[in-house]
Amino acid sequence: MTADAFVGKAVPPEDTVRKVTGTALYTYDWEVPGTLYAKLVTSTVPHAKIVRISLESAKAVPGVVAVLTGKDMPFRVGMYAGDRDLLAVEKVRWAGHPVALVVAETLEAGERASELVDVEYETLPAVFDPVKAMEADAPLLHERMEEYKHAPVFYPVPGTNIANRFRLVHGDVEKGFGQADELVEEEFRISHVSHAYLETQNVVAQAYRDGTYEIWTSAQSPFVVRQIISESLNIPYNKITIRVPFVGGGFGGKAGLQWEALAAMASKAVGYRPVKLVLSRKENFSSGASREGVVANVKAGFTKDGKCVAYKVRFVLDAGAYADYTVNVSRAMGYSAEGVYEVPNVQCESLAVYTNKVPTTAMRGFGYSESNWVLEQVFERAAKKLGMDSAKIRRVNLLRPGESHTATGEKVREDVGDPRKVLQTVLEGIDWDGKVERPSEPWKVRARGFALCVKGPSQPPNASSSAILKFNEDSTIDLVLGTGNFGQGTATAISQMVADQFGVAVEKVRVDPVRDTGKSAYTWQTVGSRGLFTDGVATLRACEDAKGQILDLASQVMRLPKSELEVAEGAVKAKGRPWLSIPLRELVFGYVYPNGNTVGGPVIGRGQYTSSLNTYLDPQTGQGVPTIFHTFGGTAVDIELDLVTGAIEVKKAVQVFDVGKAINPLLLKMQLDGGFIMGMSIALFEKIKFDEQGWVMNPNFTSYYLARMKDVPKDFVARYVETPQFDGPLGARGIGELSMISVASAISNAVFRSTGVKLNNLPMSPEEVWAAISSQKPELLAKAMESYGRVETAVKARQ
């Protein structure tokens, strides 16, 4: 094998066979003998004091082992805001808030008993609108916010519903408005959406009498699950083992703590028996966490030549009852406000606000999707006002690597990527200067639009990763990673890098599908498109470490200085004298001389990665270095809008990203296609609807709409730019989340360019689009209806 046999090649994901043959095991498959089944009892009211919980009838159901309430586990848990309970303590904060947990010998008994738990409430005033929730007399969700353990970079405002207030100031925005020739002022809204992973949240936990805990869970970040449980419940880290088998999708929704601590405490409470909790889809919608809603108010100033001289934005995040993770989303939304542009004067405020609705959490895009929805449309609106081409206004403002500074004051390095080349490739992909095709019907509009984006992982500066590389007797490799594996294919891409490091076939590198905090290499989390970058670098360092050991041994055996040796083609070779070589197999488990004497032993390489470049952001101005990389990209679409129904059909999608180095073009294309479809689904279909009591009204997939196969564009163009990053693994950057960020903005921009109709609210469902056309351009709708109803030839009904 040559040194570039696998990197850059389309290697299929290593877990394909197990998945397509149904032999991949998920948490749900984990059946421990003696397992008890847990069932949530949830609040029927949005905000109330718990007066009394009657458990007698529920406990009397045959098979019920225990019925637990918040009094049995009065812990406050969390990662960033530390605001959550395991079961409601003293009061409930949303309709769907778990108030009790039935644990039974069978799920049937648990479900029956769950209906018999009687909770008496004293109703409290509730608030569902995040902007109203900031008013002085709004009902308070968290009266004791000052007691919560917030991570140092968050700024809650105790005595209000504000869970985090992020501020960014760069230049003087008022001065900037003074220089502007045109202003764009808008309000944008984004609906709550579901992660819609196929595998609902589920967990199996067992507490042992020796004080240890074993937890199987469908999670993205086992080490953070362990951290939160350990820190919140005061259990030493090494007494908790978190195991994650195959995961049926995460999309950020399984990034933090889910039900692991609850199940673990339940296991302890029922006498150390394993407890399994599986949420139904409805429970996942109404008691699990979703992506937050957003209300954004923006004002931007542009000069005649298209330069954005001032950008002022306020994001209000409808964070729901718990904002443990969403405080960090608000931070990311804030510091990403300026996107791929250099704006001299920026003022941004981003507030995560509690409301009596479902809790919210991380989701693919993590604030960047939301800020992009605002920014990229503002630029499109400005282009129209200025009579300027959409591409030109962007070129005027694009960040210049080597010169520009981002909104947080970070100097944009030469090697971070090439936004201009990305833009150019996007335009070529959609044939921007070419003629727009004719619509299929006279009442439809065919249009093209695009949007650019950038994103990096929102992680604490000290977030680290590690990798362990173990050689087996036959010189195959067990690579021990911590980064999760829920569809991205990171383990495959990293295995390709390892294979090339040793010149062996990629099949010789295996990564165990199960992540286990006791056995896997540490990685902070699998979020933010960081896996390939951080765990990739750690792995390359583990390869170097292992190679060093192998060369030391080979040097001794071959009696050549180490500097004259190299690892290549599965062997150690003398440089320039390839006939002098020893296969790895004869070295990696110790070298055995003919007389049996052995030197060396099993080779284990180790590597780690922690960025030394990141900083906290200044609390007043938001200045600093928040991320380890910026992946630049963009999306263009060719759409057909049915003016009569408001339905938008995407005919063609173009996705372009500067990935630094395409380690696996097949997986990359799958990410770009998959991300587009997810972004399109959120753009056109997805919305969690709440009733006046904050209940989720559409908690399943016949009423919560997702894109389906028929909605997928026939024409897909996935391209990439490769500007290698000096500290990335072989120059690569992350891509996972990126591919969905600019999709919604691109679609909306296409509609605006062609019709002048502003679509400020997500999703752009047919009804939303119809309402926008009706109110903004009634003449357009009337004309469309006219041509729709025009029938030239009357045909008599068949007799």
Partner: protein, 288 residues
Amino acid sequence: MSFGSPYVTLPDFAYHRPKSLDEALALLKEHGEEAKVMGGGVGLIAFMKERLMSPAHVIDVKEVPELRQVRHVPGKGLSIGAAVSIKELLEGGTLRGYAVLEEALARVADPMIRSRATLAGNLCEAIPWVDSPPALIALGASVEIAGTGGTREVPVSGFIRGPVDIDLNPGEIVTGIMLPDPKGTLSAFEKFTAGSEFSLASVAVALAGGGRKRSVAMVYGAVSSTPVRCAEAEQAVADGLTPANVRRAADMASEKVECVDDVLASAAYRRHLVKVITTRVLRRMMSA
């Protein structure tokens, strides 16, 4: 009516699989209100999961031979057995002459569900957003019901009394759907969906006879709790499908058909869609 279920399991029930209509009726008599009849189970199992229904006895009629037939009854029409799947109905031109029903059924859910679901089940669910009831009403179809006391036949329009509420007594079973002879009826179906199989608005149209004997049925589904006819729209096209009549029918329907707000769409949008689909269906029929 709700969406989704907090439950993972089904309520306890005894499962019966009778081999004849008499056996099925005997089971129904024995268990009365405790029993529910299951065809494809698409609706019933969802209702049971939601605990909207918790029958102690489920009587699966898929192997009742009398309910597996599609028969032409001379002088009456086509009788479709209650246990015949939608997929079976769509095969081999069975529904020739009943275009409105064929079109409605061809777009029910997806192929997997169509091979399981039955026409009778789709009707008996009586949920507002499904497609076959408007088509059946437009065709003047009736429901064939058997009980231990004998049989009766009720028009589909009266059979659906409200959401999940049908004219079926304990001890009775729907044995089939009777479609009257089409006799040159021209018919068509249109629906608009926004992201799932459930319609936001649908319309079934059937034009029969000619001249003074012409009869028109225009039935709207998914816009309110039960399918509704629109007499004013029917009137508008009574003397023929001309561009002016089509336009008037669309306007009348949009004005007169009662539309509701629900989780899937607003009443205002539904009213607009009624106009759109009325135009579309009639225009298509004009050029047929």
